[in-house]
Symmetry: C2
């Protein structure tokens, strides 16, 4: 279907971090080569390039307007040369005929040919059966926090009506957050900020990608911050009043009042289109790009729809994060116009916090947990050290608990976890850099890190933990 001598066309499906990074990088790289290409981006919603990670802070009221979450408007993308088509729901891709079929904003089916295709379709929120009615529609009051439309709906739920400001009409509002990963913890913060009595229910433990002893520290901080935390519990049913959620009943037999319910159960790769076109998906349901992010001839994929390589184990994992989406999108942009850039894998590095006037806790992690290390065939040894973010005599000092995990035989650093107060968790990047370089626990213990009394202890907290573990191995 390719017309000879026409301008090469790159079609991108999905217009958030991965897709738009790919689109703009392709345009830039082509321009640098003195070539002209056409880049069409098809997006099923009417939003582009927004910070999904910022949505809890929009919902909490920390961020005043959704406009602030928009990195680039549709107009700006178009000015920069992208043929951006919003409200365009892709229904089929055909990798042999090189066509993408979509329903346009008027609901009319259209097709566009491509020379190169980038799949950046992201992920779907996990929606449990108890959250939907017989038609598969979410029960009012129950919502995920996946896209900007969700955030708008959240604002409608949490911002009190004017009339409710009078003392007489105020009643206690109850929120239940289901799932205690990053989104769960951040939404718990938002719900407490909005004045809800907040319950956090998790099937396992709080932030279960931490080791249990570190998870317990986060758990305690959440309780201190006013959150009722219910671990080892799943939701078995909901109670409705007037068609809206009113309560949840857990596997522990308890019933929890719930004017609103946050679905923070994670996401699964949105790979239906590619799978229907014969593109392989893996154990996590994600595409399986090669090191150049290619998934088929003339087809690349980037972002949350992809599985990734864990740099420590060398095996595939699923790590749906904006950092990877941006990097992979950019790599696709290079490669669709002839580049050979490679994605170098992930360490599952992550950071979050829970803060309010009662408590401030920060959490960082990188690499393998102890359980993951055992599962990968390592012989992990670990310890936790509690230090300070500044010298003991400085007012800036807050506590920082660091867990270091290393392989007993090779002394290789496998993972680091941090739970601490203000200015603690970003130190995880030091560990991430050491993990990236496949360093040993001895390397981390001996490296030349920065010290001055307002910023650190003379043995930097992460390093102190590494030194103690090095002594023990």
């Amino acid at each position: 279907m390719i017309t000879p001598n026409r301008t090469e066309r790159v079609v991108v499906v999905g217009a958030d971090a991965a897709g738009m990074s790919a689109a703009h990088q392709a345009l830039r790289s082509a321009r640098a080569d003195g070539r002209t290409i056409e880049v069409v981006v098809l997006e099923r919603t009417s939003d582009t390039s927004y910070s999904a990670c910022g949505m809890p802070y929009l919902i909490s009221g920390t961020v005043a307007s959704e406009d602030e979450l928009i990195a680039r408007t549709p107009e700006r993308h178009r000015e920069l040369g992208v043929d951006l088509r919003l409200d365009a729901l892709v229904t089929e891709i055909n990798t042999e005929k090189r066509t993408v079929t979509y329903a346009n904003s008027a609901g009319v089916s259209e097709a566009v040919d491509f020379d190169k295709l980038v799949l950046a379709t992201g992920a779907h929120p996990v929606i449990p059966p108890w959250a939907v009615d017989g038609n598969g529609d979410l029960t009012p009051g129950i919502l995920p926090v996946k896209n900007l439309e969700d955030a708008r709906q959240w604002l409608g739920l949490v911002v009190p009506e004017e009339s409710s400001d009078s003392e007489s009409t105020r009643t206690t509002r109850h929120a239940v957050v289901v799932g205690a990963g990053y989104i769960g913890v951040e939404m718990a913060e938002a719900m407490v900020d909005r004045g809800y009595e907040t319950t956090l229910i998790t099937r396992s433990s709080v932030m279960s990608n931490l080791d249990e002893d570190m998870s317990a520290r986060v758990h305690s901080a959440l309780v201190e911050g006013g959150v009722r935390v219910v671990p080892e519990c799943t939701v078995v049913s909901i109670g409705n009043v007037d068609g809206r959620v009113h309560s949840l009943t857990g596997s522990n037999g308890e019933t929890y009042l719930a004017d609103v319910v946050v679905l923070g159960l994670g996401v699964r790769p949105a790979t239906e289109l590619g799978a229907a076109a014969g593109i392989s998906v893996g154990d996590f349901g994600g595409y399986l790009p090669d090191e150049n992010q290619s998934v088929a001839e003339n087809v690349w994929a980037a972002g949350d729809c992809c599985e990734v390589i864990d740099r420590i184990t060398g095996t595939r994992t699923f790590a749906p994060l904006g950092t990877h989406a941006n990097k992979q999108g950019r790599i696709c942009g290079y490669n669709v116009v002839g580049g050979k850039q490679q994605f170098a894998g992930v360490l599952s590095t992550a950071i979050t916090r829970f803060t309010n006037p009662s408590v401030h806790v920060e959490v960082g992690r990188a690499g393998l947990s102890s359980d993951a290390a055992i599962a990968a065939g390592f012989s992990p040894e670990s310890l936790v050290t509690v230090g300070g973010t500044a010298s003991g005599y400085m007012p800036e000092r807050s506590p920082i608990a660091t867990k270091i995990i290393a392989d007993r035989r090779s002394r290789r650093l496998l993972g680091v976890q941090i739970v601490g107060g203000r200015n603690s968790a970003k130190r995880i990047d030091t560990a991430a850099a050491a993990l990236w370089g496949q360093m040993t626990v001895d390397d981390l213990a001996s490296m030349d890190l920065s010290y001055a009394p307002p910023f650190a202890t003379v043995w930097e907290a992460v390093q102190l933990a590494a030194r103690r573990l090095a002594d023990r191995l």
Copy 2:
């Protein structure tokens, strides 16, 4: 002079970070081996194990009492088994006879035999000729910030007398800080905190181990914070009133009022004792330990009296910092009882800040400056990127300027410098880890660093700079 079968004796000269780390590690390591050793520490002052880096914060009033700077008291050292002798001025060491001679607190000469000797004699502040009278005594009002005795004198100078609190007797007090390295900048903060009109004079530029463009950012912040900064100026003479300093005249012909003068001109290794005993010193005047910190048979050295190996150039440098002193002291402690631990070199990583209600600036650096990279035979390419410490829509966001320096041919990362607002500079540790691992600018650009809106941008600031430089190389 060794009596057969007596307990092995380790003598340490100097009782701050390096010396006491060595003393305690030697005791611990011997104990772990089931051996008993005797550890004698000779200290010329009456202070041990205090945070020299904390002194500007004691002088500013941030730290309420000098006791808070004491990591371990003399009593505690003795309880832990160290034979600590204070006010013991060592006058001679003899490495053949294995004796150390010292004047005790009563001024009486004593000698102690050693089996193993650790030199941890630190460094002397650089005292310029204009600061002293004909007898070599400091003119009253002029002081360095080297040891705890200096800090006590500073408190006597800067804390206002009770009587001066009345409005009528208040007059403007003037401070001049000479030298704009770390101590200079930190003491400028302290002087402004104490209400002095503060002038900072430097022979070159502010924090001259930064590249000029980054130094200029610090300079501007200091001015914004109320400091008069006078670069490219040396002091040529002082004016006295009643035997106290009253003003300084610079090489620029200007005269500056000065009720107090801070000497922040750096330090030189205190190696007289070893040099007199035939132990080599290097171009910087420091001892030249091998990788095990040994400087002669049965003699080791640690801390500010030593030169160190720059890990990037492989050549010797002088980097008098508590972080190295602690690490080297510990290594000596292992090695004097038979260990073979190695010191792995330095990156000249450092961090500081200047803060008051008008401005908050943080500075971090690691590796080579552009000039140092050229001097070492590299072909440095660099750029500066200004980013944010948090997502643009978060209230935590402050600016962060990052300079990345890499070798054009090998793409190896050579140095990183950060100047920014609150929570910016500690990110230098990520760069330090990458430099430690001899990574390329591409490694830093692609590594998996942590992101969440309150903590970073989706391309972490340091990484964004690396990516842009990688694109340019």
